[in-house]
Symmetry: C2
Subunit: 209 residues, 2 copies
DNA sequence: CAAAGTTAATCAAACGATTGATTAAAGTAA
DNA sequence: TTACTTTAATCAATCGTTTGATTAACTTTG
């Protein structure tokens, strides 16, 4: 029935997302992806047209769930900029750390600067969140809540950079943190709270007078 | 003469380092590298044995200059932990931002977790600097200079992560910072001072009571 | 009802192109 | 000469993709 078809395409996308994130676009052959997904090689082209189409589909599936991460923030003028920052850290911590496999792939593709339409789409998507953060921080400066000499751009770079460093280079992060960050259980019970807590404390110390 | 040979090998390594960092290991074909270097394809195998050999050589050339970045820090008990941190940020800012092309390649390879000997070598190399930082921070905690509840691992992740975010994803960092971070002149005059200054202010706010 | 037709899904096999690597011959300098 | 470089041609292997055949599930027709 129809549900089975959707599930199979989704299964292929799951596997492709993981393999792409592990091996990179060029390192992930269609044979390897189809093999790990347990489907015939031709099914990739049948479903997605090409390897590029598959790659694109991996992103398109996730883009929708990311672009509205901040829909309810920054619009409500009644709460303080800092509490918005806290909300952002919470949302972003939950959403982003949960999809660490996709995040790795995402920034891998952003780093490798192809002139693709995909690259521009991804940049615009991420830039939305970034500018939202920018707005919150500047609002906090304007109303005297934060120090007026804070480096907004660098704060944002720190927020995303710290997370990326941990998730994208577990080989470094693991001996640092002292537990297995590839284990989903550990991510949920230890990594997520640790990142959230640290980020709040770090920014609280930096942003306020 | 001998000098020409060395220069030619060095030239190939320069080009290979750049192409590898732009396209990734799998995306950078030997034909492309040799083409951009202006040498025959067979020269790569003649000089470096194989593509893997060339890749390894790119790293080995730089490893030596990185492993002793902190030789004069952490041993001198007379200066404060904070001034050691400041020295570290200075050294690391100069060294690391200058080799941003290599840094991109480095963390690209660290992220893609191959079981290579190379991966382990690179991890050990980077881990040396990390543990040195760890030592400084714990020393600061022990002597009451820093707060005792700081998250050492996360501080280190922040230090490296923020830099990596900016250098490895210029597509995101450029609209954030507002200037061209691929321009060496801009890196020297604006990015380097900005990173150093921000990192000192950020950590100063977080580490102290 | 059953036979014929239609559709999408799946497969093994093969395609041309490109990959990293090798060869043998030509070139260069001591 | 002798030893080291460089070149074009070529190798087997792998790449992404296409093909034609087969299966299975519905629809239509008689």
């Amino acid at each position: 029935m129809d549900k089975d078809k959707i599930d199979k395409k989704d299964h292929i996308l799951d596997v492709a997302e993981r393999v792409f994130s592990e091996k990179g676009f060029d390192g992930a052959s269609t044979r390897l992806i189809s093999g790990e997904a347990g489907v015939n090689m031709a099914m990739l082209n049948y479903y997605f047209g090409s390897k590029d189409g598959l790659f694109l589909a991996v992103f398109q599936r996730k883009i929708a769930s990311f672009q509205d991460i901040l829909q309810n923030l920054g619009n409500d003028g009644s709460i303080s900029a800092w509490s918005k920052m806290e909300q952002y850290i919470e949302l972003y911590g939950d959403k982003v750390v949960a999809n660490n496999c996709f995040q790795k792939l995402l920034y891998q593709e952003m780093g490798m600067n192809r002139g693709n339409d995909l690259s521009h789409k991804l940049r615009d998507m991420l830039l939305k969140n970034v500018t939202e953060l920018d707005k919150i921080l500047n609002e906090g400066i304007a109303n005297g809540e934060f120090k007026k000499d804070i480096d907004v751009a660098m704060v944002i770079a720190t927020l995303y950079g710290t997370k990326n460093y941990i998730l994208n280079t577990p080989m470094m992060a693991e001996p640092l943190l002292g537990y297995d960050i590839t284990d989903d259980k550990m991510i949920e019970t230890r990594l997520k709270p640790q990142i959230k807590s640290f980020m709040k404390n770090l920014l609280k110390a930096y942003l306020f007078n």
